[in-house]
Symmetry: C2
Subunit: 142 residues, 2 copies
DNA sequence: ATTCTTATTGATAATTTTTGCAATAAGGAA
DNA sequence: TTCCTTATTGCAAAAATTATCAATAAGAAT
């Protein structure tokens, strides 16, 4: 809760405006994360805001580092409040998700930056695979 | 060129059919890779095939390991023929893309699999960042 | 070659996401 | 408070993507 005033400040300082729409979306994401645009819309439609505004606002918040966007199966986007940098493991079979600390990646990222000359955003990657339970299942049916 | 007969065999062996539409799309991707569905459609529309077929076929080929799908900016998908496992660095500013050998990731992936119990597809990730040229530009304007 | 099964396609509609533009309202200045 | 500037929204249309379903055709069997 104490983060909204700070975010508002930071937005105004950059010449952007703090609107009820933006606040509603931020609160929705504060309540539960990893939401698709449609799920965000469900949670804020009562305010009368448009779907177009949801899409625009999510992209705006992402571009300004306030939310993270992560890829779900098939390239669909999912959003959550920005916080400690982390990555995701998602099970292709059941969708189970595990968060990974970003630290594990730091060494590799640094090495890639050195090799390529790129400055990388090593933030919020999603790796797909099979969770332990679904590995068992796929063996069982084989 | 010699790979189409082999792919055809493999598809038929799995009970799928080899259609002119699938062949046309494979040839388009063989000619140049990293194509969006729209770009694939441009290259095959002469055959009379539908956009819906392009989307369906790309997803079909991906699900069967014949093409790779990678994420471009904003979660848009791009396709290329499956080949040596590799990853991408993409510049947020100019879109420049560099391919990375998968080997660089192996160690990290193995370690993550051990920690999490997940079996990971460490294939065809996309990392975003700024290429060397665009880093200079962003300094210049600052 | 003919028949038969059914995977695949085209046509169409539905859904999702993006875009253009005029009306609105945030928030700094007077 | 009132006025101004312009960032932001709503609305409506466009574009992109997915789903439905009957017609088609791949390819195995005869
Ligand atoms: Mn997350
Ligand atoms: Mn590639
Ligand atoms: Zn699972
Ligand atoms: Zn660049």
């Amino acid at each position: 809760m104490s983060c909204l005033p700070r975010l508002s400040q930071s937005l105004r300082a950059r010449g952007y405006r703090v609107t009820p729409q933006r606040l509603a979306i931020l609160e929705a994401l504060h309540h539960d994360g990893h939401l698709s645009p449609a799920q965000v819309y469900e949670r804020v439609r009562q305010t009368g805001m448009t779907e177009a505004t949801v899409y625009r606002t999510l992209e705006f918040l992402r571009a300004n580092g306030i939310v993270f966007a992560a890829q779900r199966e098939g390239g669909r986007l999912t959003y959550e409040l920005a916080g400690a940098s982390h990555h995701h493991l998602v099970c292709r079979a059941c969708g189970a998700q595990v968060d990974l600390e970003a630290a594990a990646f730091q060494e590799l990222i640094a090495s890639l930056e050195q090799q390529s000359g790129y400055r990388l955003e090593a933030s919020h990657l999603t790796l797909f695979g099979l969770c332990p339970a679904c590995q068992k299942d796929s063996k069982a049916q084989a």
